[in-house]
Symmetry: C2
Subunit: 331 residues, 2 copies
DNA sequence: ATCTGCTCTGCAACCGGTTGCAAAACGCTT
DNA sequence: AAGCGTTTTGCAACCGGTTGCAGAGCAGAT
């Protein structure tokens, strides 16, 4: 059916090795054979089978792309950037949906069965254990949006969540809010924990300020709305730092449908600066996370890991900054 | 490094074939050897390499998932459903980002190099030619959200765009709008063309009604806002059928920031019923497209195609219905 | 013409599996 | 115990490639 090395070799009147060599970078072939082979290949429409090649070269150019949140539009952008970036380097993303999964063993086995060259775990909610397990299994791994530590066990690319928490608290305090709240994503997510830690750290530096915190079930619109509805029923704060834009938007929605208005009655600041945050509708004040850089850097790192398997894991953090829009009262 | 058939065979004291057979459905192995092999495999942590297997079985369990729009949140849901559905059947999506690509040759070659079992083209904007080219290349293909025809050249799963256009026009007319507009996605997209055709068809049945139409650059928020801004500067209609929810939301945004209000000054009806359409913020009246069914059906079809390569292509269309929310004036 | 050193080439083995085939092992019957 | 039909097994070839190695071919020097 498909045209293989052998067909090309026969047609060109050379050995299979000669054909193979014309298609491998840096192999030794004379100009004459190369020409013959290329012509035969052209005529037959031959292209080497990457998977068969991978059997000997141990490079499949497949990269596992593991995600566990398909309800946050930011991930559409994440997928866009990853697929493009990988494609540009001749790599292919094998998409793995881990929603609801808690065990790493299954996905690891599966990705090994496909002999992926590396794995990118793109999630701020999966426990660090997950990425560690990949490394333990000998698969190069980058944890994008993972928790930053000083001596990382795997490559981490993302932001300093703790300092974002501080930045958010500081901003709220500056604006004169006296009772401020943190509304996180899932309690178990390292990103929630770190953002909260930074938030409380900053609050502790301002004696007069009262702080409270709680968590949503997920980084999703529904979770944000649900949690804000709950908060509105109790002793609510004057302004909230929501752990993510889509949570913020859910919260805004709850606030509006309750007859309150933003920023007059309640202030909101998000995190991510997703496309939607800039829509007139939403006009969300938020902390910008440089997604494009984070993803390009992740790709660079996974490529480097594949080249040099026993490279020391490293952490790459990117600076965030506040995007002033309309959901906090002005200075 | 990795543990292979051979290792297991040696440890279990059997031939490589015996090991292979234990791991292939329906092969003939005695209970005794099976036990020995399974134990050895367990001890070594062996799992067959799917790609090596694919070399002989010609099944890699890889499915190409081709998309060209990463700006419409509906696709996040599409990816979620596809990845889960495929995973449940032991298949793996190889994600291909075709944004901006116009030639099919490159992607086809690439997917062939990875010997994918089949390809799902998930786009209402890629020309039919694209999916045809895959078929021509002998790759089983399903075009999800593709244009429906009576004698399809490839499998098509989606909705009847023409009848959705009619439904939208009919609804607008019922509500008493006399000058109605169609605001499509890209002019070249079959979905835009068909929705418009249906829309105008229905308008033609109502003599007093005036209709106009135009197109956005893409199925995206920005395109919707930009186009609505243009329309607002001219002789605008009383209500618009936007070819997609995210376009509608862009349009709503343009309308609001112009000081007009919906549905009092302008009515809007969308198409898709994406999650966001239900947010209080947005509260978009729209035509519901049964995404879940469309995607499950697409997966079923691609699986069937892989089983039976020369199956006749078929078309599967799903019924849509109107979801009444707050962007059209009441009956 | 011979030698030297280099570049090319093909053979054959290998990557990690599957599978047709013939022989071995098994369970029953007689 | 021999004969029979079924399973089960291992051998060897194959899937579509790559690659170490030894020898062939070639150009230039002597």
């Amino acid at each position: 059916m498909a045209v293989t090395l052998k067909h090309v070799a026969e047609r060109a009147g050379v050995s299979r090795s000669a054909v193979s060599r014309t298609f491998t970078e840096g192999a030794s072939v004379s100009a004459k054979t190369r020409r013959k082979v290329e012509q035969a290949a052209e005529e037959l429409g031959y292209h080497p089978n990457i998977l068969a090649r991978g059997l000997t070269t141990r490079r499949t150019k497949l990269i596992g792309l593991v995600a566990d949140n398909f309800h946050n539009p930011i991930f559409l952008q994440v997928f866009d950037l990853f697929t493009r970036g990988l494609q540009e380097r001749g790599l292919r993303p094998l998409l793995v949906n881990l929603s609801g999964e808690t065990e790493a063993a299954g996905p690891i086995r599966m990705l090994q069965q496909y002999s992926v060259d590396g794995v990118i775990v793109a999630s701020s909610t999966l426990p660090p254990l997950f990425a560690h397990a990949f490394r333990q299994a000998g698969v190069p791994v980058v944890h994008t949006f993972g928790r930053h530590t000083d001596a990382p066990k795997v490559n981490i690319v993302g932001i300093d969540n703790r300092s974002c928490g501080r930045m958010a608290a500081e901003t709220l305090v500056e604006r004169g809010y006296r009772h401020i709240g943190f509304m996180g994503g899932p309690e178990g997510a390292t990103s929630s924990q770190d953002r909260l830690a930074g938030f409380l750290e900053e609050v502790a530096r301002h004696p007069g300020i009262r702080a409270s915190y709680s968590f949503g079930d997920a980084y999703s619109f529904d979770a944000g709305r649900k949690e804000m509805n709950r908060l509105l029923g109790g002793d609510r704060a004057e302004a909230y730092f929501c752990g993510d834009d889509v949570l913020s938007i859910g919260a805004l929605s709850a606030i509006e449908s309750c007859g309150l208005s933003v920023p007059d009655d309640i202030g909101i600041i998000g995190l991510n600066d997703m496309e939607m945050a800039g829509w007139e509708y939403v006009d969300l004040t938020t902390i910008h996370q440089p997604i494009r850089q984070i993803i390009n850097s992740s790709i660079e790192l996974i490529v480097a890991m594949v080249e040099e398997r026993d490279r020391e894991p490293e952490t790459r953090l990117f600076r965030c900054h506040i995007i002033e829009r309309g959901t906090l009262r002005p200075l």
